[in-house]
């Protein structure tokens, strides 16, 4: 997966580097997916700016 992604974006890496990246990235992506809170369907990334105002001191 990583090798293909890098090739498609024309990012050159050292031999076997793609495999090492995959090994390091997999737990991060798994943890992110596991820990994502249940999101309302309408939640969009720009809502954060509004949330900052809503939660302000």
């Amino acid at each position: 997966m990583v090798k293909e992604a890098l090739l498609l974006q024309r990012i050159e890496v050292a031999p076997e580097r793609a495999e090492r990246i995959e090994g390091a990235l997999r737990p991060v992506l798994e943890a992110a997916a596991r820990s994502a809170p249940p999101l309302e369907f309408e939640t969009d990334p720009t809502s954060h700016a509004v949330a900052l105002e809503r939660c302000k001191a």
Binding site: A5, R17, V28, A32, P37, L39, P45, A51, A57
Partner: protein, 468 residues
């Protein structure tokens, strides 16, 4: 009068306005210290003594005519990523070495408008993408308290400069801890601002969802002065807020303040010396009439991984062109940090961005429920050496570097402010840093708490011994 190097910005500004000191004296005192310290700490990338002295002459003339700008004649120095038209911003890199900016950063413009002078530009991690202070293009920056130790990054030169009293204050940027880590490890005060509090126009980008600009200075009072100069809406950065900037009167408010601390969490994970410093700070705050309550610590691991996903995807996108065209011009460590970002699925990136609204709300509704700020360390471990965290650091290098940012990155992900304060020294005589994490746009409250803490402690007044 104290020696110029022992004055805070607030004191220096008072001395200047009262004509008990001249800007020229302050600049000359800084230049003398830079001459002594620079060979030991490598904090400056470029020193512009002539321009600073010329600026001081003009400032003294303005002061003689009754100029009352808050920072007139005060010499500062800034991380080498804040652009000034026609001047070089290397951004700590080979790729941008010698690059001249065609615009001036909003933060520098505002400091100039407030009367501040700039002594030069300061060392930093390459493209602000590293937490230690290593830099293979401009040489490693070193910690003034012990030059074998890391100063923290990425605003390494800013931390070292303020600690060694080479300038009265400095700007840094904080995407994952880059103001707070050098502040903590060098024993100075640093403010990570709310996302949108300070314009990023004309500042080198790293990760647009996380990038913030903030001051490093000798005290919370000085950070407040610098914040007041640089904060506020800027149409050139549409992400900036119109939220009022904390005024001097807000900081003098006597309304009750409450701080949360998580003792069991702290004792379970921080180095015992770090944990003891945080608990002692809670005791000091209580002694200042501030209510300190036990609160539940935020669940940091999910926040950390979402921060990693966002930062890696955005930083790698920012650098995509150079990573294709001239990858060999990056330092090995930065290139290794950028490469994984190209393998992060767009859906994972966007899901992490979508998740931050509910996670911000959860933090404010749980840890911060009933308190104004959460008190925690900046770093759980004691300062490591440059060697331990450098290319020759061996197997331990990755682990130690990984332990530098778990308590800082999550703050950027949520977008909230945090104030790093010196909170004592470890058994080796190296600074230990605390942070107060607050609600969005709660900088005024954090600065009030910091000022209350610093009225009862003298950690922020301690200076590293002169180099031999």
């Amino acid at each position: 009068m104290k020696a110029p190097a022992e004055l805070s910005i607030a004191e220096a500004a008072r001395e200047l306005r009262a004509r008990r000191a001249s800007s020229r004296e302050l600049v000359e005192a800084c230049l003398a210290r830079i001459a002594r310290w620079q060979p030991h700490v490598n904090a400056f990338v470029e020193l512009d003594a002539e321009a600073a002295l010329a600026g001081a002459r003009e400032a003294d003339e303005r002061l003689a005519k009754g100029d009352l700008q808050p920072l007139t004649g005060v010499p500062l120095a800034h991380k080498d990523m804040f652009y000034r038209v026609g001047r070089v911003s290397n951004c700590g890199s080979k790729i941008r070495r010698g690059w001249k900016a065609s615009t001036t950063s909003a933060a520098l413009e505002r400091l100039s408008a407030a009367g501040a002078l700039q002594l030069g530009t300061l060392n930093m991690a390459e493209f602000a993408y590293g937490p230690t202070g290593h830099n293979e293009h401009f040489g490693d920056c070193r910690n003034p308290w012990d030059t074998r130790m890391i100063p923290g990054g990425s605003s390494s030169g800013s931390g070292a400069t303020v600690a060694a009293r080479l300038a009265f204050g400095a700007l840094g940027s904080d995407t994952g801890g880059s103001v707070r880590l050098p502040a903590a490890l060098c024993g100075v005060t640093g403010l990570k601002t709310t996302l949108g509090r300070v314009s990023r126009h004309g500042a080198m980008p790293l990760s647009h969802s996380l990038d913030t600009i903030g001051p490093l200075a000798r005290s919370a009072e000085d950070c407040a002065l610098l914040l007041r100069a640089i904060a506020g809406h800027d149409p050139r950065d549409p992400t900036t807020s119109r939220e009022p900037v904390p005024a001097e009167a807000d900081l003098a408010s006597r309304s009750a303040l409450r701080v949360g601390v998580s003792t069991a969490w702290l004792e379970g994970q921080a180095d015992p010396q770090v944990a003891a410093a945080v608990l002692e700070a809670a005791r000091v705050l209580r002694g200042r009439g501030i209510e300190v309550r036990e609160v539940s610590a935020p669940e940091l691991e999910p926040l950390f991984v979402h921060a990693m996903v966002v930062m890696q995807a955005e930083a790698s996108a920012q650098h995509a062109r150079w990573m294709r065209e001239r990858p060999a011009d990056y330092g090995a460590a930065v290139r290794a940090r950028l490469e994984p970002g190209y393998a992060i699925p767009a859906t994972a990136y966007l899901e992490s961005l979508r998740a931050r609204t509910p996670l911000l709300e959860r933090f404010c509704a749980t840890t911060l429920a009933g308190v104004d700020a959460w008190l925690a360390p900046v770093v759980n471990l004691l300062a490591p050496t440059l060697e331990q965290t450098g290319a020759k650091g061996g197997a331990e290098m990755r682990r130690i570097i990984g332990e530098l940012t778990p308590l800082t990155r999550w703050v950027n992900y949520l977008g909230v402010p945090a104030l790093a304060l010196p909170g004592g020294f470890d058994e080796r005589g190296l600074p230990i840093g605390l942070q107060l994490v607050g609600r969005p746009f709660g900088e005024g409250t954090l600065l009030r708490l910091g000022m209350a803490y610093q009225q009862a402690t003298d950690w922020h007044l301690r200076m590293p011994p002169e180099p031999s």
